[in-house]
Amino acid sequence: MTHAVEITGIRKVFNEGRTNPVVALDDINLAIADGEFISLIGPSGCGKSTLLRLVANLIDPTAGSVRVNGKSAADARRDGDYGMAFQQSGLFDWRNVVRNVELPLELKGWEKAKRRSRALEMLDLVKLTDFANNYPWELSGGMQQRVAIARALSFSPKLLLMDEPFGALDEMTREHMQSELIRICADTGSTVIFVTHSIPEAVYLSNRVVVMSPRPGRVAAVVDVDLGPRSDDTREANRFFAKVTEVREALRGYEHTDALTGGDMR
């Protein structure tokens, strides 16, 4: 069976050949199954956003290969196999909500009636039908982020790449958005790679949490999370806290070894 994403022997060096090369990622191997929800977690500078951009084919690896749906990352990008969402919603001020969701469809040459009905379908999915004709700057941060998710899903990609999409939201909105995202992914059967700084967020959302260590960015541990269907009660369950602790200790683990071997640690 082909995996949704297959990352093999990835190494990424910025400024290669210059006086200040930075090894952002080294020896990354990861296989993600169809429909799986994967979180990348780690401190700043561990290369988690870089890894996401490599899967998106926005940058090229120094060595190794990325395959998406059995294709090269470049082909997958051209075929619209994935949608992206960032921390800043990145909506365009001059387009109202529904036309923001339509933008990728416009770029892919969909005809007008078809893309309008699809965009409205997506807004229904994120429960923003009533705001279709509003402008992004009239919406709250959480609503803007929901529009961005609707936009990322508009052309029905099988894979969703998200770079701290809820990072700028307050805690209450954030938890609400997490539940919404799980519902949306269940509805659409999407595979998700989700970059985050938050341990509870990673545990709540994911099937697997990939813990990364910095300088150079490596996979320090992979924590399986089998909490079954999520609900608000999940957040208060003991096994949820147990998983949070497991991820936290995995994050600490490499710091201890770092300290013992006299590595760079602040």
């Binding site: 051209r78 800043q88 001059w94 933008l103 770029l107 892919k108 402008y135």
Partner: protein, 295 residues
């Protein structure tokens, strides 16, 4: 509710304009009352203008001059002459502005597309603005005269429009470049993730993003084009516009000092008309934009 507030703002602004005009007239007359007839010196430099009627005619003399015939015995009033000249010059300035917009924006697009063009071209654009118009005018006229494209024969007013455009394109090229490069890296990555071509990214994202940057540039370019048109008329010897009227009327300044001021007012009115046109355009293009961006 929003519309009401805007209207009230517009009324307040036009009231302020009228008040400032009146204030200017009062200042003018006040200086005539107290200023030295033969001019005066400050710290040894001749700075104070002569307050006598030949140098500074009374406001009412200048205004009433509009109503009287242009020449003794001629049928048309000065007002009609200034109006006709103003309309003539306004059209030249507008043609120059449109030319400047086309050229300036095209340059901005090429510079936004190729960094190397930006580095090579931008310094020359700056240099271009230091060329004196007086030197440029005869060149444009002679190049234009040699130009034969199909049935198009070069008209003198086209030379003036080209010179007006030469002043107008610069702020549009610079503002356009800033606007086209304004989308943040995240927006550019988003376009890449859709595998959008540069051209579709330009049309769907970069050009709309450039609009708020183009509006102030257009204001600058509009007044530059008016100045360019007036100066170009004078330096190419073009008849029919306000620049020509200023020259003609100033020859009669000793006998009829109020007359030249009517043409000067006409030139100022063209500038106002141009900025009003840009303001209307601004209102139209920024109707669906967040208001903070335009504060």
């Amino acid at each position: 509710m929003g519309a009401v507030r805007i209207d009230r703002n517009a009324i307040r602004r036009s009231l302020l304009f009228v008040v400032s005009l009146l204030l200017l007239a009062v200042l003018w007359e006040a200086y005539k009352l107290v200023g030295p007839e033969a001019g005066g010196k400050i710290l040894g430099a001749r700075l104070l203008p002569k307050a006598e009627n030949r140098s500074m005619p009374h406001v009412w003399d200048m205004l009433s001059r509009f109503g009287r015939p242009e020449q003794r015995g001629s049928s048309g009033s000065v007002f009609m002459a200034v109006l006709a000249g103003g309309w003539f010059t306004f059209r030249i300035a507008l043609a120059g502005l449109l030319l400047g917009l086309a050229v300036g924006f095209a340059l901005a697009v090429v510079m936004a597309r190729f960094r190397i063009v930006e580095r090579g071209l931008l310094p020359w654009l700056v240099v271009s603005q230091t060329v004196p118009l007086i030197a440029l005018a005869p060149l444009v006229v002679s190049w234009g005269g040699r130009l034969h494209v199909g049935s198009l024969t070069w008209q003198k007013w086209m030379s003036a429009a080209v010179i007006a455009g030469f002043l107008g394109f610069f702020p549009l090229a610079v503002g356009g470049l800033r606007g086209l490069s304004s989308p943040p890296p995240a927006s550019v990555e988003l376009l890449d993730s859709y595998a959008a071509t540069w051209r579709s990214g330009l049309i769907k994202v970069r050009i709309p993003a450039a609009v708020p940057y183009l509006v102030p540039s257009l204001k600058l370019a509009g007044s530059a084009a008016v100045v360019g048109a007036v100066v170009a008329e004078i330096s190419t010897g073009l008849k029919g516009g306000i620049g020509r009227l200023i020259i003609e009327y100033s020859r009669e300044a000793t006998a009829d000092p109020a007359k030249v001021f009517t043409a000067v007012f006409g030139a100022a009115a063209i500038g106002l008309a141009m900025s009003a046109l840009v303001a209307v355009l601004d209102r139209y293009v920024s109707r669906n934009r967040p208001k903070e961006m335009f504060a």
